[in-house]
Amino acid sequence: MLNLEIIIFGALALITVVAAVMMIIARNAVHSALFLVVVMSSLAVFFLGLWAPFIAMVQVALYAGAIMVLFLFVIMLLGAERAGARLLLAWQAPLAIGLTVLVVLLGALLLLNTAPFEVVDLPAAEITEGTAEAIGQALYSVWLFPFEAVSILLLVAMIGAVVMTRQETRQEARDERKKKSL
């Protein structure tokens, strides 16, 4: 049984990592986006296995669905599939990769040298499952204030996005010209 778990995990993890790597190295931005969708979907499966069905659903709907569609939309809109012809900072790539590997190794070293983490498996009945209800309970009781704050943040972001991308209307352009002539 353990093996089955490992196999499932291993397969999914492999898919995830490969997709992530592909996302980074893909020349075409559209491809990158599609690989990212793969990563996110497989992560959703992980979430499901970790007793978080609500988050898994949200992950699929929000990330794999909405956000990625937005990405694709912008890529298509700008025609930016192949941006970045000039390579200014060539030396940066190896350095970045090296540093990342270094930090991972250091982290590993750190973890291996700390006390091992005891994981106690609980019987199914005692596991708190992240159902919509449970999350809702938590959100509207303990986390009410952050929840509201985050909703305002969302609103602000929405307005900001609208303001930034808004085209100047003709009326305004005319006003601007008038002011300059004054």
Binding site: A20, A52, I55, Q59, I67
Partner: protein
């Protein structure tokens, strides 16, 4: 799928999270396409989410999941604003190459 057993793989989940996060970092540092950089950031966020969920499961607490929820909301907001920024920049500079945007050069 089993109810309980994934928890035994807890270290692996953390490891996976680390790998994905590192890939995100490399993506941010290596790619010049602003959109891809953005996607890499999303990847990093997702990696963190995975760690959160794994920890929530192992500690048997719902708070981790709630936090993931918040992270997602923030990510959504960030994407909205970020993409709007990219669009705005593209309008003025006809490019989304971050290396072209260096007005702050010292």
């Amino acid at each position: 799928m089993s109810n309980t057993s994934f928890v035994a793989l807890f270290p692996l989940f953390i490891g996976l999270s680390v790998v994905l996060f590192s890939l995100g970092v490399i993506g941010v540092l290596v790619r010049r396409n602003a959109i891809i950089i953005f996607m890499s950031v999303e990847l990093m966020l997702n990696a963190a989410n995975l760690a959160f969920i794994a920890f929530a499961r192992s500690f048997n607490q719902i708070d981790g999941q709630v936090f993931v929820f918040f992270v997602m909301v923030v990510a959504a907001a960030e994407v909205a604003v970020g993409l709007a920024l990219i669009v705005a920049i593209f309008r003025s500079k006809q490019s989304i190459n971050v290396d072209d945007i260096n007005q702050l050069k010292g």
